[in-house]
Amino acid sequence: MTGYKVLVVEDSPTMRQLIVFALKRIRGFQIVEANDGVDGLKKLSADKFDLILTDINMPIMDGLKLVSMVRNDPNYKETPIIVITTEGATEDRERALALGANEYITKPIQTMKILETVKKLMSV
């Protein structure tokens, strides 16, 4: 398997570490971390990523804005986006999916679900 570049956008260092630690179990993943939406956009423009995982509630720029901007970027039109959030309401899920997110996972962290979703989207 060739290496995949994955961007994890999450303002909580603990949650970020939990996600990164889980993703490192998939061989061939190169993981880059971002603290918020703006940091995420900077890293997305500096490199080419194959998968994006993002929180919603973040300072400076939230995850929904990030999803919307990523989908308007021709380089990332088809890149899978997974939203991982505390927001469990149906309307939040529908909004994120309508903006272009591929999957929506709620917190508390569900490592197995995250791994299954990533494997499904990346066909690994």
């Binding site: 909580s12 260092p13 603990t14 949650m15 570490q17 939990l18 630690f21 889980a22 505390t86 469990g88 309401a89 709620t106 917190k107 508390p108 962290i109 490592t111 197995m112």
Partner: protein
């Protein structure tokens, strides 16, 4: 022709007709006999065929050998089917066990990250922030507070919260109500049923004492879980136990460090004054 001649002629034709009729009757008799003979022959042949056919299956050595082989193969087939069933059950057990081990692995990894984060700093405020993050992201609490024990007053004072205003949380005396009792006993408290629960600062749904060995230094009081989280899992109970230990030592060490830093700075100030 005279009347006498006509009579002789009629009698002759009657004889002729009688002769033809007799011949027809004889021919019919012959046909019936032949038919009966042939039917008898058919029955005979059928019986012979039946007997011959029966003898071939039962008595030919090849047939006996084949029958034995079929019996052996049937037996083997039954055994293989039994073995497949056993293997399928084992496979199912392995699959279930694999999921359990994966869940355990994930839980251990999460616990490792949580404890690593808790002990990654000696800054008191950072430690409190990490405790909040762990309770939000690993347990799934939406509204909760952290209260620490003031040993001078023997009361619990709120120091951090999520989804609530910290200053609105009550100060609680040790031994008073659910929170005070959790500090007094050192035991985790879980509400019996969350159904119909309405937030009451005196009555949290969960209260976890922060303990260093048997010494309680504070509590985490949870008042609301995320809407998608309607019950506690086994992992949650293990997390509560971990938090009770690791969060307590992290809070205690960071507080000690902050105090010693402050004292050091004061002493350094005195020394600077004296030596100038």
């Amino acid at each position: 022709m005279s009347h006498h001649d006509e009579e002789i002629d009629a009698a002759g034709r009657a004889d002729e007709f009688l002769q033809v009729f007799k011949k027809g009757a004889e021919f019919t008799q012959d046909l019936l006999k032949e038919n009966e003979r042939l039917r008898f022959r058919v029955v005979q042949l059928e019986e012979t065929l039946k007997e011959k056919g029966h003898d071939t299956v039962d008595e030919s050595p090849d047939a006996i050998e084949l029958k034995k082989k079929i019996e052996v193969l049937e037996q083997e087939k039954e055994e293989i089917l039994g073995q497949i069933k056993v293997v399928e059950e084992e496979n199912q057990n392995f699959a279930n066990r694999y999921i359990e081990i994966e869940e355990e692995n994930n839980m251990l990894a999460n616990l490792y990250i949580a404890s690593y984060q808790l002990h990654s700093t000696l800054d008191f405020k950072e430690v409190l922030q990490i405790i909040l993050e762990i309770v939000i992201n690993l347990i799934g609490a939406e509204e909760f507070g952290v209260l620490l024990l003031d040993e001078k007053t023997n009361r619990l004072e709120p120091v951090a919260s999520e989804g609530l205003v910290t200053s609105e949380l009550p100060s609680v005396a040790v031994g008073e109500g659910i929170i005070g009792e959790a500090v007094h006993s050192g035991e985790n408290y879980f509400i019996d049923s969350m159904e119909g629960y309405e937030r009451d600062f005196e009555k949290p749904i969960v209260c976890i004492p922060l303990k260093i060995k048997e010494h309680v230094i504070g509590v985490i009081a949870i008042y609301k879980l995320f809407t998608q989280k309607d019950e506690f899992t086994n992992v949650d109970y293990e997390l509560f136990t971990l938090l009770a230990g690791h969060a307590a030592t992290a809070v205690f060490s960071s507080r000690m460090y902050s105090d010693s830093e402050r004292k050091l700075s004061t002493i350094q100030g005195f020394i600077d004054l004296l030596t100038k």
